[in-house]
Symmetry: C2
DNA sequence: ATATTAAAGACTTTTGTTATCTCTAATAAG
DNA sequence: CTTATTAGAGATAACAAAAGTCTTTAATAT
């Protein structure tokens, strides 16, 4: 069991977009470059983020992507669900087994993890990164 | 991201083995039957559980499988790791990115989930099942 | 109108899981 | 010690999902 690469890329992209000066839009080109990805592939991921309402896209010249809602409202979980969907990590493998107790435990642990990830905001990461950067520069 | 079917089968098998009268051994045949699995396939899973030290196997006539250590020591996490291994759910996708803050958050949530699953014992499931069974029978 | 950029869809490749089959090794029982 | 029985190992096949590419279409600012 692993998170998909796409989720990984999506998280890095989102952090990058939040870190960017507000309201500036960026093309796939730039976003793909800093992660060493092909633009066409990253484009798929960006489309998912757009459909999830996490970013906005504008086609055409000077177009590109930018954060849509306030960064303070974007959690890790939001990004994960945008990419991975919201199906459960565990479904009892036995047919006609309503109320499987194994499943119940597994679900609880999953729910707790989701709860935690919904409380971790991407903006906090960006702020920490900026602090780290400043500390480095003052050396 | 999903748990593998193998983990699912392994959990059900372990619960079955714990639920069994102590010290009695069961062959793959029986274990495969109640889950509608092919014995050869389930056998692979059982071998993993054996190598992880969760069950014991004895070949030959009257052989089979049984719980090895005390059921009070077997957690959900033990079974999951026996099947899925212990690699991390998330590894930063960017090369040479020591101390990635995204990874850090993801790891923390993973660690918390594992911590929780290491505190959930299979024997508790078995006990609940027995209670449910008794309640049903007294109807 | 045109250059520019995102979106959509078909498609290929890669990877990991799931599953089967066959052969070997171990062991209990007669 | 032989035989029936059961687990283990290894190769391989089938399948599914993920990862990634290519081409075409749609939207938009200048």
């Amino acid at each position: 069991m692993k998170y998909s690469n796409a989720t990984n890329y999506a998280l890095h992209t989102m952090v990058y977009l939040i870190w960017l000066p507000k309201a500036s839009t960026v093309g796939v080109q730039e976003l793909a470059e800093f992660q060493k990805l092909s633009p066409t592939y990253l484009s798929k991921i960006l489309t998912k983020l757009t459909k999830a309402g996490l970013i906005e896209s504008t086609p055409g010249a000077k177009g590109g992507y930018k954060i849509s809602k306030s960064p303070k409202e974007i959690s890790f979980l939001d990004v994960i669900i945008a990419i991975e969907g919201e199906s459960n990590l565990f479904n009892c493998s036995i047919h006609h087994n309503e109320g499987c107790l194994i499943e119940k435990v597994m679900r609880e642990s999953e729910d707790n993890m989701k709860e935690e990830l919904s409380n971790r905001l991407l903006i906090d990461i960006v702020e920490k990164m900026e602090l780290q950067k400043q500390a480095k520069e003052s050396n």
